[in-house]
């Protein structure tokens, strides 16, 4: 078990390093099956990361609107925060979620969604991250969330 954990640590470190070297953070997402499951992507603009969730039929919750399942939006935002922490703090482990609180501001329609994260506070053991999610206009947020993660 300790062997397994050890290789896990090595992988995370190597993955983050390689992604930074290649300047390609999709490389990091490829290692997480859930990121593939919902189909999320990441784009880098200078120092900033913008996360993208392309419209996908299987991510729909309410079929009448149709709107993306609220849980998928939350999962996308949580994964965005994890990647942001891994990249900007060069963590050796995948940060563990402690709590996640989301406010839904508008219906998330069946179209592409975007997210950006801000590390509000980074302590020794816990980091606080704010995540905003929008679709057509960055100023018209569909959801905002804050989360705490355990880091090492």
């Amino acid at each position: 078990m300790s062997q397994m954990r050890h290789t896990g640590e090595m992988n995370v470190k190597e993955i983050v390093k390689k992604a930074t070297e290649l300047n390609d953070f999709s490389h990091l997402l490829e290692h997480v099956p859930y990121a593939k499951f919902i189909g999320m992507e990441v784009v880098r603009f200078g120092d900033e990361l913008v996360f993208q969730l392309p419209a996908k039929d299987e991510n729909i919750g309410n079929p009448t609107l149709p709107a993306i399942h609220g849980g998928v939006i939350a999962g996308f935002m949580e994964m965005s925060a994890i990647v942001q922490l891994m990249v900007f703090m060069q963590t050796t482990k995948v940060p563990k979620i402690v709590d996640f609180s989301i406010d839904y501001l508008r219906a998330g329609y069946h179209r592409d969604s975007f997210a950006e994260c801000k590390i509000t506070r980074q302590g020794r053991r816990v980091a606080n991250v704010n995540i905003n999610c929008w679709q057509t206009n960055r100023k018209a947020l569909i959801a905002t969330a804050r989360a705490h993660f355990l880091i090492d």
């Binding site: 609220g70 939350a74 563990k96 839904y104």
Partner: protein
């Protein structure tokens, strides 16, 4: 454990509601029981849902989806029991506290209740667990907006009432 749906008269309604949601079909969420007080949903383990590749632990987002779905179904059931009508209640907010990681290769169960139904908001809480509800993986509280039954739409209403079968 076999559950007799007759003890929980809203099981079929909750099952039809969850089956309408594309993401829930993809996650293979299964409603085990539902009443005016509660909904119990099973999330089977799948390697596609892994969020921590080195341990095989599923992503927190999947737990959030389970909690959101369970709470939303509890609202549908509780409104149906009280008013004999259907409403589509969008989530206003949801907070999930994670107590411990879900063990790989085992189902996660989501137990939700709608503990207060006011004129415009429905208040819910939920617990996610594997072996025992007293040893939770996560706790959640969520509030849902109530909107007029007229906005449900006829095809969705028929699907929920099982009139298409």
């Amino acid at each position: 454990m076999k559950i007799n749906p007759e003890f929980f008269p809203l099981t079929d309604l909750a099952r039809r509601f969850v089956d309408q949601l594309a993401q829930c079909r993809r996650l293979k969420l299964g409603v085990l029981e539902a009443s005016e007080h509660h909904v119990l949903i099973e999330l089977p383990y799948s390697t596609e849902l892994i969020g921590y590749p080195d341990t095989g632990v599923i992503h927190g987002g999947v737990i959030t989806t389970l909690m959101d779905t369970a709470c939303g179904s509890a609202v549908v059931c509780s409104i149906f029991d009280k008013y004999k009508s259907l409403e589509l209640s969008p989530t206003l907010d949801l907070r999930v506290d994670y107590m411990k990681p879900a063990e790989p290769h085992k189902s996660v169960f989501g137990f939700a209740e709608c503990y207060k139904l006011s004129s415009s908001v429905a208040f819910t809480r939920a617990i996610a667990y594997q072996e025992s509800i007293d040893d939770p993986i996560a706790h959640a509280v969520g509030s849902f907006m109530r909107i007029s039954p007229d906005l449900v739409g006829e095809p969705f209403r028929r699907a929920l009432m099982g009139e298409n079968e």
